[in-house]
């Protein structure tokens, strides 16, 4: 795919506010038209800054941002046609809901009858038609959120930016809104750049997730790839739950390494970003991919001691001591024939070697 076909491209973008610290170190990100791309990262990792550069309220210190193939700093913010949903909604308090939605249409000099139709349609989309004459101060958080969304979409932008739009809502409402936003995106086909620090939200909604840390993108991948195939130990730790075991690479066979763990036990693992024999590595295994066995029966099985059992209804969570790590978690589905464990019991565990990923520490 050539440059021209990306909707938005960040190319080696750097940003510093104070001339000392780089908030964004080296950002490279290509966003395809019509995709839902999420920037996921801990607070302070520069997500908002990236959105602000894209919307035109901050300028990149170096590098460039292409919008439809054109350098974006040549287009003033109001001509970019980018809808934006702000974290605190930023609904104009002195205008009614209807006036808020009409604003982007009025500044585009769209005729009045048409404005009315478009406002009604946008409100209909978020099921808020009855609230057209209310003022923002008279709305609940969830309602404000819907209005902010409708306002960002009413003028049919090609690209919508959302900065932690659900951050202030309670859990139930947040989950409901996640589906609604996702459905609206599918229906309208706009490109969405979504910012959140909530990984569950990112996994639910996105086509692609860019994980931010330390001013760079650690990995850009689909939710499935991100979860199943983390490319480095930050991602492995950040997304979902992961067990980590330290070891040294002893032997390499194509892309499978034999790793010596603390305590001398050797296991096979898929090599992700490690290369050489003798290198230190962290093995990362998802709790639900661990297989429980009555006793260690072959060479890749290792022993573990059950330390704690927590009954969680649909699954049972078992904390074990494995190769010096006493935080090793195993999730057992609550099926009719699951293993019956007791605290203090010694058992054997194993995993498919593809499920055990050897990463750089």
């Amino acid at each position: 795919m050539s440059n021209q076909e990306f909707h938005v491209s960040f190319k080696n973008v750097q940003k510093s506010y104070d001339g000392k610290i780089l908030v964004v170190k080296d950002l490279n990100l290509d966003i395809e038209k019509g995709k839902f791309v999420t920037m996921l990262g801990p607070s302070g990792s520069g997500k908002t800054t990236c959105l602000m550069m894209l919307a035109g309220f901050e300028s990149a210190t170096s590098g460039e941002i292409l919008f439809n193939g054109k350098p974006i700093n040549k287009i003033p913010p109001h001509k970019r046609g980018i809808g934006m949903v702000f974290q605190n909604y930023a609904l104009f308090p002195h205008m009614s809901v209807g006036e808020n939605l009409a604003f982007p249409l009025q500044v585009r000099k769209i005729a009045k009858p048409e404005v009315e139709v478009m406002v009604k349609n946008a409100l209909d989309m978020v099921q808020m038609v009855d609230f057209i004459d209310r003022y923002p101060g008279q709305l609940s958080g969830g309602q404000k959120q819907r209005i902010a969304l409708a306002r960002a979409l009413v003028f049919n932008p090609e690209l919508v930016l959302m900065d932690e739009p659900l951050g202030a809502l309670d859990k139930q409402l947040r989950e409901q809104m996640q589906y609604e936003i996702k459905h609206i995106h599918e229906r309208l086909g706009v490109s969405v750049v979504y910012v959140t620090h909530d990984q569950a939200e990112a996994l639910t909604m996105s086509d692609q997730i860019a994980v931010f840390n330390d001013g760079i993108i650690q990995q850009l991948a689909s939710p499935e790839d991100l979860y199943e195939r983390p490319e480095n130990s930050f991602i492995a730790q950040f997304i979902g739950e992961n067990n980590q075991l330290r070891g040294v690479i002893e032997k390499i066979d194509k892309n499978i390494a034999l790793v010596a763990l603390e305590g001398g036990k050797k296991v096979s693992a898929l090599m992700v970003d490690v290369k050489d024999i003798g290198e230190n590595t962290i093995l990362s295994i998802r709790p639900e991919r661990v297989i429980i066995k009555p006793r260690a029966s072959n060479s890749t099985d290792i022993d573990g001691k059950v330390l704690e059992l927590i009954y969680l209804g649909d699954h049972i969570r078992c904390r074990m001591m494995v190769a010096g790590n006493d935080e090793f978690i195993v999730k057992m589905p609550n099926s009719s024939n699951h293993a019956q464990l007791k605290v203090g019991e010694e058992i054997g565990i194993s995993w498919e070697k593809e499920d055990c990923r050897a990463l750089k520490p």
Partner: protein, 410 residues
Amino acid sequence: MSEQLADNISLKKKLQKAERRKKIEALGLISPLFFVMLVFFFIPIALMLYRSIDNSQMPAALPQTADIIQQWSGEGLPDEATYAAIVGDMRIANEEKKLGMVGRRLNFDLVGYYSLLSKTGRKIDEIKGPPYKEALINFDKKWGDTRYWTVMERGLKDKTLLYLLAAMDLKYDENNKIVKVPEYEAIYISIISRTVYISISITILCLILGFPIAYYMANSPPRTRNLLMIILLLVFWTSLLVRTLSWILVLQNNGVVNNFLMFSGIINQPLELVFNRFGVYVAMTHVLLPFMVLPLYSVMRSIPADYVRAARSLGAKSITAFIRVYLPQTLPGIGAGALMVFIQALGYYITPALVGGPRDQMVSYFVAFFVNERVNWSMASSLGVVLLILTGSLYLMFGKKVNIANMKLG
């Protein structure tokens, strides 16, 4: 069921008891301020306002006449008893040296009364009666003129609207009708409208100068902000008198500004910068500017940058975003600032008195003039009342528009 009801009632009582204690505490906390306000603010102002209609020194000077003249129908001349009473009253008033005051007061309504009373008072012993009616009319035929008695009757009442009317360039004519004073006597309306005009101009100047300052302060980093705040508040650290006098030094004929302009060859003759309207505008705008900037600043600080950004992202040019999104949100600040500046300007005294010319004096100057030079408290109070009514009605009109409840002061 009834048990529940009884429970509810006792709950209500408990709540009331708990609330009552809170209310008493609250009252206890505000009562010192309340008494201070009452004793040092409301009572003096009420007394001052009462002065504007108080006329009790007049019936006190001519007590018998004041009593008896009430029975007069107003048609024709009063009866003999009234004439007898006034001769008696005038004798005493003359001895107590009160007749001059009465004469001056009645002379407001009818020119010639002062000379009539002083002349009659001087020669009161020559008037022999009874019948006093004839004796007085023989002494001066003005005593047989009904107009003088109409004025006397009105002038001896306990209360009078005379001063209030005078403060609005109105008066009673001989037939007890309210009429405008002749043009050459009318001064107060023009003084009051001049006061309002100057105050509005200064409010506008403060807004024009203050808005950008407040905006800059609200949107700059903390260090710049604090520095600007200190510079702004410096104004409060120096006395009003010093600030006003320093403007004279700056603006006078051989002051800093004129010297600079002459030195640099822009002008050959000093400009008239002070002791005129220009000087009043400059000095008062300077003095009142902080009262505009502070409420504006506090309102602007509370407007997140996201609103303007949202407007821009929605397609508004920066000027449109400013006018349609930012400006409306600063209205509470503009309202509060304008009201504070305007109301203070209305009552300003020292600054216009020092840097203004004779044609730039405002109402307060005349209040001071009547108190200090004429010892006419009634007139001073009346001007005060007119100013108060004016301020009050503007406040109500203006306040409705910008919704005073939303205003932010500092």
